[in-house]
């Protein structure tokens, strides 16, 4: 059974066709990148998989269960970090984790594990309002990992981070990949992130899947990397300027 099955999903906002009949299948333990420029429909698609938005038509199954009938079970088995995950600025890291742990009926032990995993040991008593962008993303990841999710959704987890913070997060996710218990769906518009972390890459633009497959299967002589592949597919660039600078 696939970990995630998306069947002909459509989502429209007023006049905008955000997702135009996407189907895909993700196997257990896979690390999958949804790659596309801003406005491609990645977040809408991933939020429908997370059960935060309802598709206009089509079906989404996580471990064979749909959101309508199994929301309670699915909420317990997935972890997620939203594109703009916000936490109360007046709580400390430990208090935020205690709060979210209580929703899963988890105790101190698991809180300490995710703190160690995300390298937040020295910051547990810091108020969320005082954290840097990278620390906030690590907290968002720590919250997402609290319940040992079998399916983890991360929506642009490194957007806006400096290269050092981005690398920190990649290392944490790489460690998770090596354990092999989690299926990751990561949206990004950074090719390097997709190449480094994911085995399965799905390229999306204008609400449709343009190509998908393993990295080595997607590339050839005409498309030596994902940037070239994207230009060949759409005639436009994928990355923003700051990443091009960093990857040079």
């Amino acid at each position: 059974m696939s970990q995630i099955e998306v069947r002909n999903v459509v989502k429209t906002f007023k006049d905008v066709h955000a997702v135009k009949g996407i189907s895909l299948s993700i196997e257990p333990g896979e690390f999958v990148a949804l790659l596309g420029p801003n406005g491609a429909g990645k977040t809408t698609l991933v939020e429908m998989m997370e059960g935060l938005q309802k598709p206009d038509s089509g079906e989404i199954l996580i471990e064979g269960k749909n959101w309508k009938k199994h929301e309670k079970d699915l909420r317990k088995s997935i972890g997620l970090s939203l594109q703009e995950t916000r936490f109360s600025e007046k709580l400390t890291i430990i208090e935020t984790l205690q709060l979210f742990a209580s929703f899963f009926n988890l105790g101190k032990e698991r809180i300490n594990e995710v703190i160690t995993l995300t390298g937040l040991e020295s910051k547990t008593k810091a108020m969320v309002g005082t954290l840097s962008g990278g620390q906030r993303q690590r907290l968002a990841l720590a919250v997402a990992l609290l319940n040992n999710p079998r399916t983890l959704f991360l929506d642009e987890p490194t957007t806006g981070l400096d290269p050092h913070s981005r690398l920190d997060l990649w290392n944490i996710l790489d460690g998770l990949k090596k354990k092999g218990n989690t299926t990751l769906i990561l949206t990004t518009h950074y090719m390097e992130e997709a190449e480094t972390l994911c085995d399965h890459i799905i390229i999306i633009d204008e609400g449709k899947i343009l190509r998908e497959g393993r990295l080595k299967d997607l590339l050839d002589d005409k498309s030596r990397n994902l940037e070239e592949l994207f230009i060949n597919l759409t005639g436009k660039k994928l990355s923003d300027d700051d990443l091009i600078e960093q990857t040079k």
Partner: protein, 369 residues
């Protein structure tokens, strides 16, 4: 303790309390400000009875009023301007002071509009005329006092008015009327802003979105928010009562347990209304408008500062149906009339039912993101 610490309701309540305690402004506006207001209003309305009125005289030539003023008045100042002061003493009603100043008609009208003067005495071909807004009760009072004084100035000497016997029983003073109203009004404000606005703000900042993507019970979130406000309201009401007790000797004459139950019912009613009001919008501007739309009519009509029996007869029965009116009347009856279970049964049931109904509708309509 371990199991309690893991309970989401406890953790939510704890988180809301911590957030509130870490906002000193919230503590000031929630606790210190109502106490200051009650002290200010209490002192303003319980000072020794000394009434001071400003009368403008508009005349083309000296009149009888000037003759009386030269006899009974003395020269003085009114807000820095030369005036003639006429004071009368009454053992029961205290001192009354009329400050007379001369003016022309146009300036007199401006002073009336600004509320700087209470009444104008104008010299007309038909004699002296009192000019004031007959719907202004303060002006009416000045007219009655002044006309009586001008008709028989000599009879207003000290100790002549023996018909008035001051009633100073506990529960009949203005401050006894005011404090229960301030407590209930404070509860309404604290819940409407503390629950409604907090929800709308969290929704607009997408804080709710992350929480609802967990197995968190949605009712736990709202109950914890309501619980935190109720706790704060208990503290606020106790502090306010303590000050009123120490400064104004306010007493609770009725059943304290009944008061506690009614207090919880009032909190429940406004918490339910607050959830309903904030169930959909994510715009703080819209939220502010909705909160004001709920609060303002009750603030004006429910008899917080002055009795609603001053409103037209036909409106009284509608005013009594407002939750703040029912709550305030109930609390006042326990404070001042010695009411107990029997008297507060109906308002308690009505307020609780309203709160639960609004909560249920609010939960059904609630937009989490």
């Amino acid at each position: 303790m371990k199991s309690i610490a893991h309970k989401q309701l406890f953790q939510l309540l704890r988180a809301f309390c911590l957030e509130m305690l870490r906002e000193p402004e919230v503590l000031f506006w929630g606790i210190v400000f109502p106490v200051l207001i009650s002290i200010g209003l209490g002192l303003a309305f319980t000072q020794s009875a000394e009434a001071k009125f400003h009368i403008l005289i508009v005349e083309s030539k000296p009149t009888a009023v000037d003759s009386l003023l030269s006899l009974y008045g003395h020269e003085g100042k009114h807000k820095g301007q030369p005036a003639i002061i006429w004071e009368t003493n009454d053992k029961a009603l205290g001192k009354t002071q009329f400050d007379f100043t001369h003016s022309d008609w146009e300036s007199a009208i401006i002073s009336l509009k600004r509320g700087e003067a209470d009444l104008v005495i104008a010299d007309t071909p038909d004699g002296l005329r009192y000019r004031f807004d007959p719907h202004n009760s303060q002006a009416q009072l000045v007219y009655m006092k002044l006309s009586a004084l001008l008709q028989s100035p000599a009879s207003h000497d000290a100790d002549t008015n023996i018909a008035v016997e001051p009633l100073e029983l506990k529960g009949v003073r203005y401050i006894d009327f005011l404090i229960p109203g301030l407590i209930t009004f404070g509860i309404m404000g604290s819940i409407m802003w503390g629950v409604s606005y907090t929800i709308i703000e969290r929704r607009s900042q997408k804080l709710l979105r992350r929480m609802v993507a967990t197995p968190m019970r949605k009712s736990s979130f709202l109950i914890a928010l309501m619980g935190m406000r109720t706790l704060m309201n208990i503290v606020e009401a106790l502090i306010l009562f303590l000050f009123a007790y120490l400064i104004f000797d306010i007493r609770i004459q009725g059943n304290i347990a009944a008061l506690a139950l009614l207090f919880l019912a009032g909190n429940l009613a406004f918490a339910g209304i607050a959830i309903l009001v904030s169930s959909r919008t994510s715009k703080t501007e819209v939220g502010t408008g909705l909160i004001n739309a709920v609060q303002m009519p009750m603030m004006l009509l429910s008899g917080i500062f002055f009795s609603y029996h001053n409103f037209p007869e036909w409106s009284i029965s509608a005013i009594k149906l407002l939750p703040l009116t029912a709550f305030t009347d109930g609390v006042r009856s326990i404070f001042n009339e010695g009411a107990g279970w029997e008297e507060i049964l109906i308002p308690t049931i009505a307020l609780s039912a309203l709160g639960l109904l609004c909560f249920a509708i609010g939960m059904k309509r609630f937009k989490w993101h």
